[in-house]
């Protein structure tokens, strides 16, 4: 579904991502791990279009993403969350989800004709469903800035889902969460896969990555040093070396 070929991104002399090949298959949960500064977040930003490629190509279902700016990639079905939460703090929870309804189907509903044909009730129902899924229904009229940390994380995920993605990029979704919250996040990710969303997770929290992913790629210094199932990755000597150091 998602194909990266020879992807590179240089910041001055720093090679944040250096000749990366990745294949994410439809319907799988794909983990991207590696030590700090290994290029994981840069890879997410390259796929989302926030950062431009220095070399290589990225295709989604055969479509070259290079000519598409960020907001168009979303319409192709790519959504993402941020490592440091970026909500619209002065909008309510409900409005945060409303603003994100930019998929082609939702845009058609929001036109004058679409609203006349009852599209607005469909929009409301969809937002209600997302609030239910994220257990935020009781907070829907609260300003996003007033939410607790865990709620903000849930809202950010819900906001990404409001764009109706086929491919969801999660950049450290469990950062700062306690064990119980990580368990709930895990359940939510698995439910999304059942709904047919392909998911790429960048994560440090091994409890989540090892428990939820189908396959994992390990990055170090912008290059892929291993790829395989969670069990294979845990046994891989190159991975142990990258994480634990030594020679």
């Amino acid at each position: 579904m998602l194909e990266l070929r020879g992807v590179a991104r240089h910041f001055g002399g720093v090679r944040a991502v250096d000749g990366l090949d990745l294949d994410v298959r439809r319907g799988e949960i794909f983990g991207l791990i590696g030590p700090n500064g290994s290029g994981k977040s840069t890879t997410v930003n390259l796929v989302a279009g926030v950062t431009t490629l220095s070399a290589g190509s990225i295709h989604l279902d055969g479509i070259d993403l290079a000519p598409h700016p960020v907001h168009e990639r979303l319409r192709l079905g790519i959504a993402r969350t941020f490592q440091n939460i970026r909500l619209f703090g002065q909008l309510t929870v409900w409005q945060n989800l409303w603003v994100a309804q930019n998929s082609p189907a939702d845009r058609a509903r929001q036109t004058f004709l679409g609203r006349w044909l009852g599209g607005q009730s469909g929009v409301r129902a969809e937002i209600a469903r997302l609030l239910e899924f994220s257990r935020l229904a009781h907070r829907q009229d609260e300003l996003a800035t007033n939410l607790a940390f865990g709620e903000q994380r849930r809202l950010e995920l819900a906001r990404a889902l409001a764009t109706r993605p086929r491919l969801l990029l999660l950049d450290e979704p469990a950062a700062g969460m306690n064990a119980e919250e990580i368990g709930q996040l895990r359940d939510r990710i698995l439910r999304l896969r059942e709904q047919g969303v392909t998911i790429v997770i960048v994560e440090h929290v091994m409890q989540l990555v090892m428990g939820v992913t189908d396959r994992i790629a390990v990055l170090n210094f912008g290059q892929k040093i291993a790829e395989g199932t969670p069990a294979e990755i845990q046994r891989d000597p190159a991975v142990q070396k990258a994480y634990l150091g030594g020679d």
């Binding site: 979303l74 002065q90 603003v99």
Partner: protein
């Protein structure tokens, strides 16, 4: 009484100027071009009623559309830059408009006098209101009809999805983009709407003062335009109007007895207001409080 009607006229016109900036500030942009759009509206409407003998209403509609179209055209290149660079770019545009009118002559003979803009001399005799026998009160009512229509439109607009999108862009452009918002379309349309409102205000201003010249539309007016929504708060359109009443009604008129000391106090009061109410006079909490008060009163009665 005419003094107060006159003051209300000025407050109405400045409210339109402030509301034009309000739309742009919502998207997080600081534009010093609003005085330029205001000038375009003023000259366009004045020329149509004086040189073409149009009725005031279609002349104002034309001025609104002309300023909106220019704002749209300016929006595309200007909004490619951000922050301080946008301030400089819009400032340059506003000064460009002012200098254009400084050099703009277009006079025709009407009876035995020549009318129309005459460069640095300005554009005199925009006498639609006195010629048609409108009293100060009529003009004031006409201006406030326009203000209330614009406020109602923006009030409705703030509650629409588009209003939420504007605020989302103002809060975090990267996040807005990543949920599929087309930043260029949103910023340019906000600029165009803001420009159109400024054009309407300018058209009314030209007929209110009867004499306009390039110096009316300088950096001071541009600064006022952007100060109103910031001092008043972005929670709703009422904040902007409250700020205009405070600045034009209280600071400029109310402190006239202080003579030259007024200007000093003027600056100090703006600084004090910003410190006491950093989110503007009417922030979200103040509005919620007012709404509760409003609901409680009928229940208690």
């Amino acid at each position: 009484m005419d003094f107060y009607w006159g003051l209300l006229q000025l407050i109405g016109i400045h409210s339109l100027l402030g509301l034009s900036a309000y739309v742009v500030v919502l998207t997080g942009q600081v534009s010093l071009a609003q005085a330029g759009f205001f000038a375009i509206g003023a000259y366009a409407a004045g020329m149509l009623t004086v040189l073409r003998d149009w009725h005031i209403v279609p002349a104002l509609v034309a001025a609104t559309l002309a300023a909106g179209a220019v704002a749209c055209a300016v929006g595309f290149p200007a909004l490619r830059v951000r922050g301080l660079m946008l301030v400089i770019a819009t400032l340059a545009f506003g000064e460009g408009v002012r200098l254009f009118f400084f050099n703009f002559d277009y006079q025709i003979a009407k009876g035995n006098i020549r009318v129309g803009p005459l460069g640095g001399e300005g554009f005199r005799q925009i006498r639609y209101f006195p010629e048609n026998g409108w009293s100060t009160f009529h003009v004031m009512a006409f201006i406030w009809t326009a203000v209330i229509l614009v406020m109602a439109a923006l009030w409705w607009f703030d509650r629409s999805r588009y209003g939420a999108v504007l605020r989302a862009v103002g809060e975090d452009e990267t996040a807005a983009q990543s949920v599929g918002v087309n930043l260029t379309a949103v910023k340019v349309s906000a600029m165009a709407f803001g420009g159109a409102i400024a054009g309407l205000g300018g058209g009314l201003y030209a007929h209110y003062t009867t004499h306009i010249e390039h110096a009316n539309f300088g950096i001071l007016l541009a600064t006022f335009a952007i100060a109103y929504p910031i001092v008043g708060g972005l929670a709703s359109v009422f904040g902007t109007v409250a700020a205009v009443v405070f600045v034009q009604g209280f600071l400029v008129e109310g402190l006239r007895f202080l003579g030259d000391w007024r200007n000093l106090l003027f600056g100090a009061l703006i600084v004090a207001a910003m410190n006491l109410r950093p989110h503007g006079f009417l922030d979200a909490r103040a509005l919620a409080g007012l709404a509760r008060l409003w609901r409680r009163r009928p229940a208690g009665a």
